[in-house]
Amino acid sequence: MSAAPLLSAFRQSLFEAWASGAGVLLPLGFFAGTAAMVPFTLGSEAELLSRVGPGILWLALALSSMVTLERVFQADLQDGALDLWLQDTGSISLVAAIKTLTHWLVSGFPLVLLTPLIGFMLGVPTTKMIPAMIGYSMGGLIFFLWGGVAAALSASVARAGLLIALIALPLYVPALIFGVQMIDAGFNSPSFMLLSASTLFALGVAPAAMGAALRLAAE
């Protein structure tokens, strides 16, 4: 099998992100907007905000990962790219993995880079920022992988946004819990190890499920 479909999947999802207007900026705006709404709902008490800040950022990350999930595989199904990949290579799972990782790179990783700013806004202690950012990177990957499974399963459903959210949310729970705990507990804690383990687990299992789902969607 050649690397051509993988490269094309990589290039395509990279361009796709910029194609429809400000595709990359959408999740960023949503993420920042959600987090900025928090003082309105919880009050502007500095002590409270700095305590709930990391958790709010986790929630905002989970929500904004869903904003773009609907587009990940649906476009490929509609423009026929999916059929070509299926003809070209034996391993659609690998293509799905590449697509998800690229998707994370363009619409997940920028959120991580934005977190110090919003964290600073909410008054999260600077010492917690580094573990938080590493946690958000891994958690974002988990969100996109399991969310990608949901997106692949509902690729042939029109207006699947809410369906994807309903399917993916229960699968987000472990990453959310481990992630919030590791911010306080640091790198030398079971939460961090479990978060890493869930990331690896999702990396190993989710592409297979996505591949099976995509093969089904293309029929």
């Binding site: 399991w146 369906l163 399917i167 229960p170 299992v205």
Partner: protein, 255 residues
């Protein structure tokens, strides 16, 4: 037994007799455990006084909803590997019943816990790790049902739903571990105040009294039989529905 019933004709013959028997027996057993649980056994003050009587519905449904999700995943697996139609019919029938029992589990759990927590029932659901994992299980069931409903052809829906059920199943242990970890650091009281869930030995180490355990087992047996009967009813109606579609297609074709 399972491979014997894998033949749809044998299943239809078997379920025709088995449904009324297991439905009636299940109803009787549930009624017996409820009667004893609500009126006969003495209230246990350590477990929340009269509120602990919710236990006789709560604990059997907690056992059952985990079991039903596993059953859903197993039938999905069987269907996905061997494409056995009846396995898919079973998976489709299990989902709503399982969702019902998960709902029953956290509703009764929160009623029972009201006194123990003394802080309104939202606190109980959101504060107890075991109820919280049941709640997540409920959403897994809901997602499964919603995905099935959203896909247009039956075959597609069955395949996608089977993948989802298997993905959900391998995630259930991780969810369980994570929710248990979350609970130890929560600001809410630990669940040892009242031990919700399995009949574990209580604080004083005396173990659950036989009077209570007996009713729990009656309830568990009864609810299992009831669930089995309801699942078989749904399966039969699904099989009949497919037969009707086939008959209609034949008729339209003119043969």
């Amino acid at each position: 037994m399972l491979s014997y019933l894998a033949n749809p004709f044998r299943f239809m013959r078997f379920s025709k007799i088995a449904i009324p028997i297991s439905f009636a027996a299940g109803l009787l057993m549930v009624a017996w455990s409820l009667y004893n649980g609500l009126f006969v056994v003495p209230p246990d003050e350590a477990q929340g006084g009269d509120l602990m009587r919710a236990m006789f519905t709560h604990v059997p449904s907690a056992w059952l909803c985990m079991g039903l999700y596993a059953a859903l995943a197993v039938s999905s697996f069987i269907w996905y590997i061997w494409r056995h139609e009846l396995a898919d019919v079973a998976a489709r029938a299990i989902a709503p019943i399982g969702a019902g029992y998960t709902a029953l589990c956290f509703i009764t759990g929160s009623i029972w816990g009201q006194k123990g927590w003394g802080a309104g029932w939202h606190n109980l659901i959101l504060g107890d790790s075991r109820l919280m994992s049941v709640l997540v299980l409920f959403f897994l069931f809901l997602g499964y049902i919603a995905l099935r409903a959203a896909l247009e052809t039956r075959q597609k829906a069955a395949r996608a739903a089977a993948i989802l059920a298997m993905v959900g199943m391998i995630n259930v242990p991780i969810i369980k571990v994570s929710v248990d970890m979350w609970q130890t650091t929560t600001i809410h009281q630990p669940s040892s105040v009242i031990s919700i869930g399995a009949p574990e030995p209580r604080e004083e180490g005396s173990g659950m009294d036989w009077v209570y355990l007996q009713q729990l087992l009656w309830g568990f047996g009864g609810h299992s039989l009831l669930a089995a009967a309801m699942i078989m009813m749904l399966m039969r109606s699904e099989v009949y529905g497919q037969q009707a579609e086939r008959a209609l297609a034949l008729k339209l074709e003119g043969s």
